[in-house]
Symmetry: C2
Subunit: 314 residues, 2 copies
């Protein structure tokens, strides 16, 4: 199950601890419900707003305290959000149920994403600040949708969750496992065989599809701020898509129905999961999770092969 | 095995990532050696310098980014140092061997430590700064050994590692487990039954003794910057103590031989571990760890019952 970093620091929120804890509690309710029904659950949380905040804090004190590399900030948010989510889940399921792992995900240094960073992180900057930081730190900065300049980092494709054995072991022991938070701490194999941190932010939806496949999950839940996928979004023809075959989803993706920053990665992650043997991928909100998992008609968006969809179509 | 936060950010170092990674690599060498000999190992790291740095970074950006509570900073350092140590151990033992858990440790809100905070964290402050922050944030600040004022926080006794079941499961599955880092994220049970973060920093030596007992460890290694315990330290009568019975160690502790900020907590942790059924507690440096574990005479300090000591005395 993928849970967005924006679901933990909501729109208009600044990311105080009480805010994050209250949001985590909301997510924990349907999750605990699924667990009570006997589901084994691994949770991959996002960390966009939180890693952005940490990055600003690092920069603000840079004259007194060494700035840590991006992969370490990602590790820090795994600690932070892993703790908050574990507390929220344990509140519902009992102490020690949830276990958060500091998780590393391997990427390839030859991934084209390193040559062409695209993922914006951190605050908006003036052009002057942006150019200065680009020169001082080797950052790539871009103008972002008329709102100022922002640092962009590589978002390479995740290839392997190093801790997948531990995740499986803990799932089998009955834990709710929090893993690959923020997409995982990115690492890459270097020429000398060493595995070192890589300055990249992995998309958490893609990481969740990889983890789901690796642990043999049958279903992948991609939670988001909206109830379901919309087609022709923002036009008079806008309509909800409650059931899509992989072919339909791929066609809509190809037709540009799902923008890269929002629904796009979820559709790609869902398709990859199904291609690798998964049964169903469900895109919905935390509020509708229970109903979507129960297979209620016209709740959320289920992507599955026609025969799997046939059983639940309304 | 307890590893000091000072072993990860050495004296005179500021805590850059290359420094921390290089120090972790040094610690990983003897640890991997023990693992090769068939030991099951859980590692509890300290986080003093790192949580101090994070705290300064949080303060520096406080007008733009909400400051997180102390227990969340502790969770962040579990992510950070868990990642660095896992990479260093995996470099020696193979990918996926080490697993770092975000770990919570229960304390009692009635613990007298909350009424009398003693553990200094973060930077030295001027008296003016100190009084201002005390007023603004409710901090307790004290004058620290003539070097300025510092924030002090509660360091209550750890009572329970919430994730102990997961630690046991992962040890049994052959992992090197990193847990209760920085003493664990402190949590306390409130009147409504909820388990919430507590603003405290748990001593990592005490947490390691608790964890060692809980997983049924026979030996507890407390790594530090010195080779062994010294008696009459700093006097002409200074001499190394390579073997101590619990009675001897307790007597020296009572006589004020071990100051509260350094060797004291290690002796207390060792005594608690032996009292709770442990066989041997060893205080030594990372460099001597392998020899001490092999029972070489006059290496490190072993605290054990007389019959256990008899087998190895020189």
């Amino acid at each position: 199950m993928a849970v967005g970093g924006n679901a933990l620091t909501g729109e208009g929120q600044s990311g105080t601890y009480p805010e994050i804890a209250a949001n985590a509690a909301v997510t924990a309710v349907p999750l605990a419900g699924l667990r009570d029904q006997g589901w084994q659950i691994a949770v991959v949380h996002g960390n966009g707003p939180q890693v952005g905040n940490l990055s600003m804090q690092q920069d603000a004190a840079e004259h007194d305290v060494p700035v840590q590399p991006l992969h370490q900030l990602c590790a820090m948010t795994q600690g932070q959000l892993g703790s908050v989510l574990a507390r929220a889940i344990d509140d519902r399921c009992g102490p020690g149920t949830a276990v958060a792992l500091v998780t590393h995900v391997r990427v390839d240094l030859q991934d084209p994403a390193f040559a062409q960073p695209t993922k914006p992180i951190g605050p908006f900057l003036s052009e002057h600040q942006a150019l200065e930081l680009a020169a001082a730190r080797g950052w790539t900065v871009v103008e972002d949708s008329g709102r100022g300049h922002r640092r962009v980092v590589a978002s390479p494709r995740p290839l392997e969750v190093l801790e997948v054995g531990a995740v499986r072991t803990l799932l089998d022991a009955g834990h709710v496992v929090l893993a690959a938070g923020g997409g995982g701490v990115a690492v890459a194999v270097h020429d000398d065989g060493s595995v070192r941190g890589a300055d990249a932010v992995i998309d958490k939806d893609h990481a969740s599809a990889l983890l789901a496949t690796a642990v043999g999950a049958t279903e992948l839940y991609l939670l988001t701020g909206v109830d379901c996928v919309q087609l022709d979004f923002g036009t008079p023809r806008q309509r909800p898509a409650h059931h899509l075959t992989p072919e339909e989803a791929a066609r809509h993706l190809h037709d540009g129905q799902f923008p890269p920053g929002s629904m796009g990665p979820k559709i790609v992650a869902a398709l990859r999961f199904l291609q690798d043997g998964g049964h169903r991928a469900i895109i919905t909100s935390a509020e509708l999770l229970a109903d979507a998992a129960a297979g209620k008609p016209d709740v959320g968006t289920t992507i599955a092969l026609p025969q799997a969809l046939a059983g639940q179509a309304s």
